[in-house]
Each structure stands twice: as structure tokens, then as C-alpha cells.
Amino acid sequence: MQNFKMNTYEKLLEHTGGATRENLFGVLGKVQDTFGYVPREVVRDLATRTGVSEARIYGALTSYRDFKIGSEGGR
């Protein structure tokens, strides 16, 4: 796990071939696995890219046990 960096995230997106509505759940999973949480910037960016609202992404993220929306212990 590493600290959140925008360009790590961008590389991750490139690797998955972009984000779409169809693979959004998987992309969020990869972000979680890489950074240990799903940062706000990412949710915002993914909402723009996929057309899925931020509210719905947060609705999903907060309902799963293994998704975190803040870094453990804060910073």
C-alpha cells in the first residue's frame, strides 16, 4: 500500500484501459487495493469519467465492508 498520488492513479487507469460504467466497480477495487482507501479526488474523477454520480459511488463504497473512504488513521 502506498500514499495517494494522482499519477499512480492515472497509471492504474491507463493499465485498466480507462474507466467506464461497466468496469467501475473493478476500478474502485483496484484503487482501494493500491492506496488502502478510495480518495475523494478519485471519486470525483471517476464520476466525471463514467457519468455515475458521486452520490451513487459513495452510496456503494460506504455499504461494503472492505471499502474505505478515508486513509486508516488519517494523515
Partner: protein
């Protein structure tokens, strides 16, 4: 009784990433035959084989495919459900880790038959290593021309996405799984419409369990008739029994349907109970199946026989309990799990699971009253009758059956001090 290794024939015989070794062991024959057939004939073959779903509900696989194939909407999706969350069930992991190419072959055949160009495999969050392996498998498959455009030189194309669950039991339910992949909360939905009509992103979708899909290449390679030689008439093939609980040797055993009894499975494969005590009860189909008492253990290992004995084969996760366990404690453990896993869609399940847990916790502490037992029955029955998905309909079954089979345990737990 002996094992009939059909699905597990290659498990442990090759390195999971080695496609060549898989081919050398007879792999891809089913897919090659499939690509030379019309999709309708493939579905016909599966129908003839009598294959039923191995994820718990036991729906005929061929019919499910046919219903989806006949829908006019495009695109269609195929989902492989590898979110194995049922208590006492760990058979899918054996296939996912031990013979991943066979599962992939099954996915490809299914996608071809129903006309899907996008397939997903949704792997249980706790199976982290398995998910990593599958990412690699998908990469290797693409290189080998088994995924992507023009598979094995045909004009059939399909892509596979590997997704990992995020720690929710309910995500293994058909519609909850679909919701999850749509980036929604994992929740069940009212049926109809069924996934075959309006599934993932509103499109026709087939959701199949891993073990179901692992049967597919075998059927296509050997033909339905040959496949039916194992098992019984209305329950053909083999099943992977996950044996656990109070047995000396827990594990996954592949057994031809009807070739033995529950007792033989426990005695011969499980080598008897852990402490050599008599068996009190067995759950033959995972944590949400009703208990069978000692007297019913002679029943044959078929869906029908187990149903007639008063339970269900479900996921074939056989959990054994020794005599010294109290039914109250067993039920308490089960409710602790299921009480935390309701998705909240249906009130009877959302509220009922928590209330039942509270009542049983109270009983276990010795504070229960006679009326609590009645309430437990009432709430349990309401859950069974009033929930949309398999979880709400099934999790009270062990509680209700325990009240029937072991009333003395509950009586004993009641508060003896006059109020």
C-alpha cells in the same frame, strides 16, 4: 463409497498458469466441439445433461441459458458467481485455484451459447490470492487467443473482467451480485423480472456458480449421455461436498450423486467425529440449511433424498455437530453471522434477523422465557414467507428445525427462577 473425480480430475496435476499442461491433460476439447456447433445445440446439450445449479437454488442450467438466449435485447452478459459466502462451503475455491482453465473454458462455452460478448467473474473478497491468479489467467488467455476477438480462429469474441467482492455475504445472491457490478449497494431485488430478462445494466444476463460452470466443458467434451452415466436419473453428475465441523478430516470430496449416504460421507471421508462422540446434527447444505438429526443420516446423497429427510442439499456444505453441543449455541453462532449480513431490503429479514439474534443471545445467557420460543418461531416463519431472496427465506430454517428437533435444549436454556 469412493470419490468420482470428474471436475477435480486435474486439480493439483498442473501449475495453474500453465495452459499447455491443461491442454495436455485433455483441456479445451469441450470448447473446440462447442465452436463447431450452433449455440442452440450447445444449450440443447446442457438441457439433455440435466445439469442443475450448484450454488444453492438448483435451477436447471440449460433452461436458464435458453431463457436468456431467446431475449432479443443486446448486449448480453455472462456472470460467473465466485462469491462463495455460504457458511461451511469452500468447494469453488478448489476449482478456481486448482483447475482455473476448466472454469474459464466453461465461461467461454456459456458466453458462446447465450451470445454474450462480455463476461465477468466475481471472486469473493477474502480469496485475494485467487483473484490475483485470475487476473493473470485473463492475461494469459488473451495472449493465447482464448479471450478477445476471434477465439481459436472462430468468429466468436468475448472479454472477461475479473472483479473482487468487498466483504459482503449477500453479494453472492444473484441480483445483489448484479447490483454490485453496477456499482450499487449489494441488494436483492423483486423478481420478476429475472436476470434473464433484465439483469446487469438492464440487459439479459446469466449468473452461474463456479461449480456449475465447471461441469459445462465436461458435458460438451463427453456428450450429455456419457455425462449422465454418473449420478442418478433426476440428479445427474457429481457434486463437490465441503465437509467441515466436528469431523477428523474436513475437506472437499467429489462424489457421484446417490452413490452413498450422508453417514458414509462423514465416516469414510471425514473419518468420524473429532472426539469420537455421537453426531447430534448435520447441516447438509451450508449454514442456511435445516438440521438433520442423527436418525436421518442414512439418507442418500441426492437433492431429493435430502429434501425428503427435511433439509436441502443447497451448496453441499456439510457441517457436522457432535452430541455435546447445545442447539442454542449452534443457532446463536449462525444468527451472529446472518444477523449482520442482511442487505436490508426486506423488513422481515432486516429486522427479523436482528431480533432472532437478540432472543437467542438472551436464551444463551439463561434469561429466556417460554414466550421467546414462540416468538422465535413466529419471526422465523415471517422471514421465510416475506423475503424476496434466498437468504431471508433460508437463514431461519436451521433455527426453526432446531426448535423442532431439539426442544429440550431450548427448554433447558429457559430461565428457571420465577420472576
Amino acid at each position: 463409497m469412493k470419490e468420482s473425480k470428474v471436475l477435480t480430475q486435474r486439480v493439483g496435476k498442473y501449475e495453474p498458469l500453465d495452459l499447455e499442461a491443461y491442454k495436455a491433460l485433455g483441456g479445451l476439447q469441450g470448447l473446440r466441439r462447442t465452436l463447431a456447433m450452433k449455440p442452440e445445440s450447445v444449450i440443447e446439450e446442457i438441457k439433455k445433461s440435466g445439469l442443475t445449479g450448484r450454488g444453492g437454488a438448483g435451477f436447471p442450467a440449460g433452461l436458464k441459458w435458453a431463457l436468456t438466449a431467446q431475449e432479443k435485447q443486446e448486449p448480453k452478459y455472462f456472470l460467473c458467481n465466485a462469491d462463495e459466502g455460504e457458511l461451511g462451503t469452500f468447494k469453488d475455491k478448489v476449482l478456481l485455484d486448482g483447475d482455473p482453465w476448466a472454469v474459464l473454458e466453461g465461461i467461454l462455452i456459456a458466453a458462446y451459447a447465450i451470445g454474450a460478448e462480455q463476461a465477468y467473474i466475481y471472486i469473493k473478497g477474502e480469496y485475494e490470492e485467487t483473484a490475483k491468479l485470475w487476473e493473470q489467467i485473463a492475461g494469459e488467455a488473451e495472449k493465447a487467443g482464448l479471450l478477445g476477438k476471434g477465439i481459436l480462429g472462430s468468429n466468436f469474441s468475448v472479454n472477461l473482467q475479473v472483479a473482487r467482492g468487498r466483504g459482503l455475504y449477500i453479494a453472492g445472491e444473484e441480483f445483489a451480485l448484479i447490483s454490485s457490478l453496477e456499482t450499487r449497494r449489494a441488494m436483492s431485488r423483486l423478481k420478476p423480472p429475472y436476470p434473464s430478462e433484465e439483469g446487469l445494466f438492464g440487459k439479459p444476463t446469466v449468473v452461474n456458480n463456479v461449480e456449475t460452470i465447471a461441469n459445462v466443458p465436461v458435458i460438451l467434451a463427453k456428450g450429455a449421455e456419457e455425462y449422465r452415466k454418473l449420478g442418478v436419473e433426476d440428479d445427474p453428475g457429481t457434486r463437490l461436498f465441503s465437509l467441515s465441523g466436528d469431523v477428523k478430516k474436513s475437506g472437499v470430496y467429489e462424489i457421484a450423486m446417490g452413490s452413498g449416504t450422508l453417514k458414509e460421507l462423514i465416516d469414510e471421508f471425514g473419518r468420524g467425529t473429532t472426539h469420537g462422540r455421537a453426531i447430534k446434527a448435520v447441516q447438509p447444505g451450508g449454514g442456511t440449511s435445516a438440521f438433520l438429526a442423527r436418525g436421518s443420516l442414512g439418507c442418500k446423497l441426492t437433492s431429493k433424498a435430502i429434501s425428503e429427510a427435511g433439509s436441502g442439499i443447497g451448496t453441499a456444505g456439510v457441517i457436522v455437530y457432535e452430541e455435546d453441543r447445545s442447539a442454542v449455541d449452534i443457532v446463536k453462532g449462525l444468527l451472529q453471522y446472518y444477523g449482520a449480513e442482511s442487505c436490508g431490503r426486506c423488513a422481515p429479514c432486516r429486522i427479523g434477523s436482528v431480533k432472532m439474534r437478540e432472543i437467542v443471545d438472551n436464551l444463551a445467557r439463561g434469561n429466556g422465557a417460554e414466550a421467546d420460543l414462540m416468538r422465535l418461531r413466529e419471526i422465523g416463519n415471517a422471514c421465510v414467507a416475506g423475503s424476496t431472496c434466498g437468504m431471508g427465506q433460508a437463514f431461519p430454517l436451521p433455527v426453526l428445525s432446531a426448535l423442532e428437533l431439539f426442544p429440550e435444549d431450548f427448554e433447558e436454556a429457559l430461565c428457571k427462577v420465577p420472576a
